[in-house]
Symmetry: C3
Subunit: 139 residues, 3 copies
């Protein structure tokens, strides 16, 4: 069985990090699927997905990591060609990855207690985002 | 239902970045599966997969990011032991990851308009690559 | 069909890297599923998963990469708030990712000969880990 939904998000950009765990769990609860996997996928090329313990210290630490590894203020060829100033956003998104797959059994996601599903919006402006949540499995 | 195919690629190495989106879409079109996920997986330990807006500026920016984060010209214990000079290739591949999962519905991948599926060949020489494209879902 | 198992691991922390390929293959051999995907997912927020050629040189090179990209000895807000000194562990885990999906056909994983599935424990102390191995596919 397959069940698919789209979560709409208003993201602020600048490494906005949003916990979507409750929305993913809601899809699972409302479905007829009991065991399988949920694939979470963010459409677009300036956002990514991962898991983290969602607390303010780590959220700021993760933003700091991105500033260090893929800085905003170095030259990008994308910006020279297109002038939209978000070359760093695309590169961060490509390194992190747009998809995440989480198994579940008896309606329970395999997440740890301090492990949340987060969307990272790396763009340099607010965006309307679509996150696909697709359940695949058996009743 | 499961349908699996292997895409063969001749990669040049040195962070060769190849857009395989049309080949993945072709597998989907030719299958009897309408909704589900496609798992793309690159066999071997010196290549990886992600999504990016496939335009020349970003392709060069992504190569530059790899040069910065996992440089070619620092010492690697792999090279000391095996002498093949591609320690950096393996490390880049492990950081990026070998698999990518994309949901589709009614034969349409959940990719954005400017979001392509790319294989990154990090090796230091041309290679023959196998990329597995596996569809899993329902008609 | 869905078949799920939990692999228990005693990890040492400090970027302990453990080859779990034989355990994943064992789940596949013992199941009634012949073609499909295996989702490997590590529960908790200080560990991650990837593939690598499992040889001592690369294992030490990968540890060195983590020391360089996400150092232990820089300030983390997580540590200021919680005092457990493992801010770097969480950030490394979020960058690497907690899930890995590998297709298989006729009971054979699509891994290369020199490509193993590894769990990275980034924590700063020994841990008991749960790794979910879930098979999804057809007989």
């Amino acid at each position: 069985m397959v069940k698919s939904a789209i979560i709409g998000l208003d993201t602020k950009g600048h490494c906005d990090i949003i916990d979507i765990t409750p929305k993913v769990e809601q899809q699972l609860v409302e479905s007829d699927i009991n065991s399988g996997i949920v694939t979470v996928f963010v459409t677009g090329s300036t956002a990514g997905l991962t898991t983290i313990e969602y607390e303010p210290g780590l959220i700021s630490d993760l933003k700091e990591m991105w500033r260090r590894l893929v800085p905003e203020n170095i030259p990008y060829n994308h910006d020279r060609a297109w002038g939209d100033g978000n070359g760093y956003s695309h590169i961060r998104a490509s390194l992190l990855g747009a998809s995440l797959v989480i198994p579940f059994n008896q309606k329970k996601l395999s997440l740890g207690t301090w492990q949340q599903i987060v969307v990272l919006c790396h763009d340099n402006r607010p965006r309307k985002r679509k996150v696909v949540v697709q359940l695949l499995g058996t009743s």
